[in-house]
């Protein structure tokens, strides 16, 4: 595994980036990394912080793993990757604590838990250890941005309904009735389910349309 094995022959450009963000969005399409998706998306800022932290760890760990891929023996693959990821997570952890203690407290243990985020380890193991630095960083950026997008989708809806505010600014005036459930864990499930439903419905519609066009062209 120390040489570059052939990966899927996808175009390595903007398309890769968009692929990770939309077509293979880790949160909303292939449903990976559900733990932070559900746990820390009770406000937009929390979701954004979590998304960016994950994006940073994902991109940098992919690049580093890819750089080191010819030096790491197969037997210690997993351990090496975990050490790299854990180092980066520690950096993020300390950085967030220094920048905003409030957000740090809100996110709590979930920052440290980025270490065990399956998206990151999956990327390191399945992609970065087999491809070039540029390719793996690009792919990781797409996935990371997609994950951030998914978190923001949830965080936005949950903050607006759960507190009546958006990024701390009240939207509906003083007497808004907060939907307590939206700020609680069940709200995460409800909103995630709603988004998954909406996206799969939209995909099916566009899928049907493009299939119809192709049929017409064939005929």
């Amino acid at each position: 595994m120390s040489t570059v094995t052939n990966t899927a022959a996808a175009p390595y450009s903007l398309a890769t980036l968009l692929n990770g963000m939309w077509k293979e969005n880790p949160g909303l399409v292939i449903a990976l990394g559900m733990c932070p998706t559900l746990a820390v998306t009770n406000s937009f800022v929390n979701a954004l912080t979590m998304g960016l932290a994950t994006l940073f760890v994902l991109v940098v760990s992919s690049a580093v793993v890819s750089l080191l891929r010819s030096f790491v023996p197969t037997q210690v693959h997993l351990v090496t990757h975990l050490v790299i990821i854990a180092t980066l997570v520690t950096i993020v952890d300390i950085a967030i604590g220094a920048i905003s203690p409030q957000v740090y407290r809100a996110l709590g243990v979930f920052i440290q838990l980025i270490v065990v985020n399956c998206i990151i380890l999956g990327h390191a193991q399945g992609y970065a250890s087999k491809s070039t630095v540029y390719r793996s960083a690009l792919n990781a950026s797409g996935t990371g941005l997609g994950f951030t997008l998914a978190l923001l989708c949830l965080g936005g809806v949950r903050e607006v309904l759960g507190t009546g505010e958006f990024m701390g600014a009240p939207l509906f005036g003083e007497r808004f009735e907060p939907w307590a459930v939206m700020a609680l864990p069940p709200g995460g499930f409800f909103v995630l389910g709603g988004w998954l439903l909406a996206i799969s419905w939209w995909k099916r519609r566009t899928g049907k349309k493009s299939a119809g066009v192709e049929q017409k062209q064939a005929a």
Binding site: G164, F172, G173, R175, F176, E177, W179, A180, V181, M182, L184, P186, F190, L197
Partner: protein, 342 residues
């Protein structure tokens, strides 16, 4: 097919069909609910009427929209959406802000029923899904009660009813009253059984009058639209569980008769637990299911922060009813009993 008598006609089971269609059963359940709704309007006035109309309308409209969106034949004709709305109103407090009730109705029909594939596919009672959502989303409003038979209840709405959507109610009424369950739990004041039985107490819109609910339930049971085993086992199990605690410490725990007649236990046992879709079908399974619900209701009432345990007890019962069914399969005639497998 009957033209040629010599052709052997082959069909798969079931070969014997009951005379009742979904429509007959549902319309009868609706008729049985109407007296209860009428009494609720008498007790709580036009606020209750508005609540019942709102939830029923929203449920029916949501159902028709869902049918349209999923391009299915309209299922309005089976009355199930209307019953969902009616029952939801009866399990909410009479002064519930109408927009919150409407949100609950949408959740009932969409999440509780349509997402599972419609009537007959739902794992949980849609009414209780909507109710649980309201309990989780608006915990204050759903536990604010109003005294019955208030003056001017037919001429003006309660202060909370006509709240502007997405805003919280301006102020709760001065006539807010605690339910018998709350009085018992927090102030150790036990409401008289006669009052509880007739229903002139504070409580959910349709849960107060046990006499009327039992009467309407008896009609449904007599016409075999609901199976008597489920209400019987639910109430019996709640009575026995409560009796054990009462015998251990009569000072601390309510009497078993209070347990039966206070709160929504009877309404839940007759109209919510007995839902055909979400309850077991085997006779033994029904006893187990009802027993579990009665037991859980008492445990939740006595040992949790919740006043009422019927809703969660029935939802938990719904969740295990497929397992109960598969564990209580009756022996096929002539077959030896095999080990039950999950």
């Amino acid at each position: 097919m009957s033209a040629n008598p010599h052709i052997l006609e082959l069909r798969t089971s079931p070969h014997v069909h009951g005379p009742n269609s979904v429509q007959t059963i549902m319309s009868n359940v609706m008729f049985a609910l109407l007296p209860i709704a009428a009494f609720a309007v008498f007790l709580f006035g036009i606020s209750a009427l508005a609540l019942i109309c709102t939830t029923t309308t929203v449920c029916v409209v949501t159902e028709s929209l869902v049918c349209k969106l999923s391009k299915k034949e309209s299922t309005l004709g089976d009355y199930s959406a209307a019953i969902t709305g009616l029952l939801l109103a009866l399990t909410l407090p009479p002064g519930m802000p109408l927009w919150m009730a409407a949100v609950g109705s949408v959740v009932s029909v969409c999440v509780g029923k349509a997402l599972f594939g419609g009537l007959g596919q739902n794992a949980f009672n849609p009414v209780l899904v909507g109710l649980a959502f309201i309990h989780a989303a608006f915990p204050i409003e759903v536990s604010s009660w109003t005294l019955p038979l208030a003056e001017g209840r037919f001429t003006s709405f309660m202060g909370t009813t006509l709240t502007v959507p997405f805003l919280s109610p301006a102020a709760f009424d001065g006539i807010t009253g605690a339910t018998p369950l709350a009085l018992q739990k927090f102030e150790h004041v036990t409401t008289g059984l006669g009052e509880l039985f007739l229903g002139t107490t504070a409580g959910c819109t349709g849960e107060t009058s046990d006499a009327l609910i039992l009467l309407c339930g008896a009609y449904l049971i007599a016409r075999k639209f609901i199976n008597w085993r489920i209400p019987a086992s639910t109430l019996g199990s709640a009575f026995l569980t409560s009796l054990v605690f009462y015998a251990a410490d009569p000072e601390k725990y309510p009497s078993p008769f209070f347990t039966l007649f206070a709160g929504g236990l009877i309404l839940g046992a007759i109209f919510l637990a007995s839902d055909m879709v979400t309850s077991p079908v085997t006779p033994l399974g029904m006893w187990v299911y009802g027993g579990l619900i009665g037991f859980l209701t008492v445990i939740i009432r006595l040992f949790s922060g919740q006043l009422e345990g019927v809703m969660y007890a029935i939802l938990l019962g719904n969740a295990v009813s497929p397992i109960i069914d598969s564990l209580t399969q009756p022996r096929i005639f002539g077959a030896r009993r095999a080990k039950a497998k999950l």
